[in-house]
Each structure stands twice: as C-alpha cells, then as structure tokens.
C-alpha cells in the first residue's frame, strides 16, 4: 500500500468520528435543549391533548436514547424525514435549494481567491511600502464589514442609484423556469440548453451576491498569502533565482506564488465554514433561494425536521470539503503524511 493511499484512508477514517460528533451536537441542540418544537409549532394556546398527540406522532415521547439512535439511522439511510409544515420530504426541499447555494459560494470563492491572492502577493513583494500598508489595511477593514451590510450597500449603489444590476433573485422575470430543470445550477443549465440570453441574465444576477461574498472573505486570503509569500520570498532558491537574473515579476508571481499556494490551500478548507456562514447572510440580503433562505424560512415556521436537515447538510458539506482539501494537499505536497 502506497504512502498516499494510507494517508487518504486514515484521513477518511478520521472524518467519521468528526461527522458523528457534529451530528450528535446537532441532535443535542435541537432535541434536548429547552424549547418544545411541538407546542411552539402549534402556537401557545393548543390544548394539551393535541400537543400530546402530535408528539406521539413524531415519536418525541420515546426515550431520548431511542430517538438518538433512530436519528442516526435515519441519516445513514440519507433520509431526513418529512417537513412538519408542508407535505414534503426534507431531502427533496434541500436538493431543490442546494445548487443555488453551491453556485453562489463557488463564484464567491473564485472572486475571493483571485482578489486575495493577487493582492497578498503584491503586498508581500512590496513589503513595508505604502502599497503594502494600504493592502494590509484593506485586509483588516474588509473583514470587519458584515457581509449582509456590504450586500445592502452594493444593492444601494449598483441596484438603486446606478440602477445597472439586479438586487434580488437568481433570474429576471423574462427567463423561463423550464430552462433550469436539469441540474439546478443555473449557469450550467443555461449553457446546456444553449440559451445564452438566459445565461447572461443568470450571470448578471450573480454579480452582486458573489462579489459581496467574495470581497468580505478576500481579506483573510490577502493576509494569508502575504504571510506565506514573505516566508517563501526569503528562501534560498528565490535568492538564487534573483542572482541568475530571472525577471523579478516572474519570480514573485510564478515561482514564489506556486510555493506559497500550498498553505493557502489548507486554509481554504478551514474557510469553508466562513464561506457557508457568509452565504446564509448573503442569501438573506439578496433573496437568493438557497439553503440559507430555506433555513431561516423554516425557523420562522418552526419546521424542526427541515431545520435539522439543513444543518446536517451544512455539517456534511464542511466535513467533506475539509476532507477533499486535505487529500489534495497530500497529493500536492508529498511531505504530508501520517
């Protein structure tokens, strides 16, 4: 068995307890904590007998350990139960909304990486100059701007005052919904359907939300890239390259950046949590019909099974992404082994 294979298998095995603990935490928060889902769903004035009956129906009167095992078994079968408010499987509701969130986060991530890494590399190259200080200041300030407020301000600027970009939703009214029935990823669907008018419409709706998300997270990547680049730029092989007379720009943006990228990649795995949190808030601001909107809508409706399902899916996404990032890291850098 190769070194890499062993690493991958160990890493996958380590993910299992992590997912298990996350699922247990979700269970504890949603089931054991004070706050009774049934009475809050039926409103404060429901008669005792109705509440009892509903509880019995949902299996909430069984011992907590049984409920817990049942909960885990349900997740193993990839079944997240049925909504308490609508006659709808939770899994179905999530599958409908998930592509919107993934599309938003993917575009947000691209913008973050592009802005963050370029600015970080530039700042490291121009260490302790005015440009460097300015970029570092940007890194601190942008990180302190709440993503939802940045979204609102961009809406105000580009949507209301300049009136050049749409401020809500994934498509305009003139685009038919039937175009989007294949994958749910609108960009992909419109390309597959070769409907370029719709594609343009979808992309223009993506501009503000993905920039909002991308800008806020770019601050972290500016700092990360800068710190890593500073280490790399001091390495002997960079000095050697300089001595050989290779173009400075080529050294910085090709040689050094490539080597600084490995630690940045690992950090990307950790940032996925922030990206998800940012996506929830961005979705609220831009009426983006994704997982964040689903989560909040169902909180207001007190639909606990859906609430639970959405949180579980977020937990699984985080665990999977960090697993994938670690594996890529191990492939890229052969020094990473258990």
């Amino acid at each position: 068995m190769g070194n890499l294979t062993r690493y991958v298998i160990t890493r996958i095995l380590l993910t299992i307890p992590m997912v298990f603990i996350l699922l247990s935490i979700v269970f504890v928060v949603l089931r054991i904590m004070p706050g009774d889902p049934v009475s809050s769903m039926l409103g404060g004035h429901a008669p005792e007998s109705v509440i009892e009956q509903k509880k019995e129906e949902l299996g909430l009167n069984r011992p907590i350990a049984i409920q817990y095992l049942d909960y885990l078994w349900q997740i193993c079968r990839l079944d997240l139960g049925e909504s308490m408010v609508f006659k709808q499987r939770v899994t179905k509701a999530i599958i409908e909304k998930l592509p919107a969130t993934i599309e938003l986060t993917a575009f947000g991530m691209i913008i973050t990486l592009f802005l963050g890494i370029l600015m970080g590399a530039y700042a490291a190259d121009k260490r302790r100059s005015a440009q460097d200080n300015l970029i570092r200041l940007y890194g601190i300030v942008i990180f302190c701007i709440p993503v939802y407020w940045l979204g609102l301000m961009l809406q105000l600027g580009f949507g209301v005052w300049l009136d050049i970009l749409p401020i809500a939703g994934r498509t305009g009214p003139r685009v038919l919904a039937s175009t989007f029935e294949k994958t749910g990823f609108y960009v992909l669907d419109t390309i597959l359907a070769k409907d370029f008018f719709a594609l343009g419409d979808v992309l223009i709706h993506l501009v503000l939300p993905s920039f909002t998300l991308g800008l806020v997270l770019s601050g972290i990547f500016v700092r990360l890239t800068r710190a890593n680049m500073l280490d790399v730029l001091r390495a002997d092989y960079i000095v050697a390259a300089e001595a050989r007379g290779i173009q400075h720009r080529k050294i910085v943006y090709k040689y050094a950046l490539k080597n600084a990228f490995i630690p940045i990649l690992t950090m990307m795995g950790l940032q996925i949590a922030l990206l998800m949190a940012g996506a929830i808030l961005t979705e609220t601001t831009f009426s983006w019909p994704g997982m964040g909107r689903l989560l909040l809508e169902r909180i207001y409706l007190r639909d606990y099974p859906t609430l639970q399902g959405v949180i579980i899916v977020f937990a699984l996404i985080v665990a999977t992404v960090s697993l994938i990032v670690d594996i890529i890291y191990a492939i890229v850098d052969p020094r990473v082994r258990y």
Binding site: P17, M18, I21, L22, I25, V26, V29, L30, M33, P34, G35, R127, R128, N133, R136, I140, V141, F143, C144, I145, P146, Y148, W149, L152, M153, Q155, L156, V160, W161, I167, A227, L230, L270, A273, L274, M276, A277, I280, L281, T284, T285, L295, L296, I299, Y300, L307, I311, F314, A315, V318, A319, S322
Partner: protein, 294 residues
C-alpha cells in the same frame, strides 16, 4: 526629580510617538483601535446625555426624513430618530459581545487547562469534540441555538458564547501541553506541589497572557455574529434597540432609496468590529516581535 504637569505631558507624548517610531504601523493600528473602542464605549455609557431623543419615541419629527437639521441621521418610518437609536443600540451590542466573550473564555480556558494538563482519554475525547465544533460554521450553530432558545438578551449572549469556546480551548490546551514540560513545572512537582497548585499557580498565569489577543479579536467577531443574528430576526425582541435589527428594518426602504436607514447602523457595526480587531491586531504584533520582522 519633580516634573511640572506640562513637562510630564510632553514626556508622555514623546514616549507615545516614540512607540510609533519603534513599532511602526502596528502601534498606530493599536492606537486607532483603542480610540474607536473607547469612543463607542463612552457612547454606550453616556447614551442618556448624548442622544437627543428617546430611542423609542415615535414622534420626533417627520416620517423618513433624510439626515440634516434636527435629525443628524434622519428618521425612520416610525418617526424615530436614527442617531438616538444608534447611540442606545451601542449598549446592546457591546453588552452581548463582551459578555459572550467573557463566558466563552472562562469555559474555554478552564476546559483547555484541565484537558491539556490531565491528558489521557478525557483530553482526547474533549479535543475531538472541540475540533468538530471549531470546524462547524459558527453562525449556523449560533442560529440553531438562538432559534431553540428564543429571543432575549441572555439567550443571544449564550448562543454567541457557545461558538467561541473551542477557540480558547484549542489555544490554551496547546499552550498547557507545552508549558507542562517546562523545567519550572517539574521543579514545582519536585518540591511536592499538588496538581491543582501547579495548574493554577504555575501554568495558568503563563497561559492567560496569550488569550488577551484572542479575547479582543473574539469580541470583534462576536459583534458581527450578534448583529447577524438580530439582522436575521433571531436574537432579540423588538422592544430592544439594536443595530442589527435597525438594519433589518431599514432594508425594506432600500428600493425606495432611503439610504440612511441602512448606512448608519451597518457602518457602526463595522466600525465597532474594526476597533476591536485593530486593537487585537496591534496587540498581537507588538507582543510578538517575530511578526515585526515582516
């Protein structure tokens, strides 16, 4: 040698700017952060004398008046003065964020110390749990807690506090593991000091210093999480004045161009978070000279 007050002031001032020369931009980051934080804290403390109107007063002037004249930041749809609501809102957000950071640091530091010091099975399990929570999006966890606990200042504080416990735990546990092996701890053990004496008298004082920076940055983050929760309508009942809730209310008037309702509360959230972040960053860089090489 006795100094006159003027001389003492001049000396203090030159020392102050001298620090700027010594540490460069980090010092100014620290100073600006401190000024922002102190300004907003005094705003919260003296809200009664700063705010021109009662933040709940629904009859302060015309409806949705733009900034200017009697209303520095305009009025909202219920004829309330936006500036007065900003002033009073600082109390809510500071109270929640600072209290949450205190709660999570107390739990996180204590658990981290005990876990790192005792080691073994307990340490492994607790570390695994903390690492899992740490990897999970904090906001989503806070949303789940806030949704279950229902609205209220205490509840939102708890929801925010929970998500930072692993941050302190991981930091303090790592430090404890390192300090545990130091010679002076071994010496203490050799003279017969008990486990708890070693933990609280020898290890704790050496660990606590590093948490100061984390605490400051934690408050900054807690500010944004608190505002996010209330913006989503989860944290607080409407009777409380809060920047996040004002932002959510103002959002409805965005399409019609009433910019002051969203601009000011959001700018204040950013400014307060920025103040604490700059304070923390400044501390971190000045306390850690290795970083100063950069």
């Amino acid at each position: 040698m006795l100094y006159s007050p003027a001389e003492a002031m001049a000396k203090a001032f030159s020392r102050f700017t001298g620090m700027g020369k010594k540490y460069g931009i980090e010092w100014w980051i620290l100073v600006v952060g401190a000024i922002i934080v102190l300004a907003i804290i005094s705003m919260a403390l003296f809200a009664g004398s700063i705010a021109p109107f009662n933040p709940h007063n629904q009859n302060t002037g015309p409806q949705l008046a733009p900034p200017g004249g009697e209303h520095l930041m305009g009025t909202d749809n219920l004829q309330r003065d936006v500036w007065s609501r900003i002033v009073y809102g600082s109390q809510t957000i500071l109270r929640v964020a600072v209290l949450a950071a205190i709660i999570s640091s107390v739990f996180g530091i204590t658990l981290g110390l005990i876990s790192g010091f005792s080691g073994g099975f307990f340490d492994r399990v607790l570390s695994l749990i903390m690492d899992s929570v740490y990897s999970f999006p904090g906001l989503i966890l806070a949303i789940a807690f806030a949704a279950m606990l229902g609205p209220g200042v205490i509840n939102v504080t708890l929801a925010v506090a929970v998500i930072y416990i692993p941050t302190y735990f991981r930091l303090v546990r790592g430090q404890t593991l390192a300090i545990k092996e130091e010679l002076y701890v071994e010496a203490a053990r050799a003279i017969g000091a008990s486990g708890s004496t070693i933990l609280w008298r020898y290890i704790f004082p050496n660990v606590i210093a590093t948490t100061v920076v984390v605490f400051t940055l934690n408050v900054a983050d807690a500010i944004m999480i608190e505002a996010a929760l209330t913006y989503l309508g989860l944290g607080l009942p409407p009777s409380i004045v809060d920047w996040g809730m004002d932002l959510a209310m103002g959002k409805r008037f965005l399409p019609s161009g009433q910019w002051w309702l969203i601009t000011f509360p959001g700018a204040m959230i950013s400014l307060l978070a920025l103040g604490f972040t700059m304070l923390g960053e400044g501390f971190a860089e000045i306390l850690n000279p290795r970083l100063l090489e950069r």
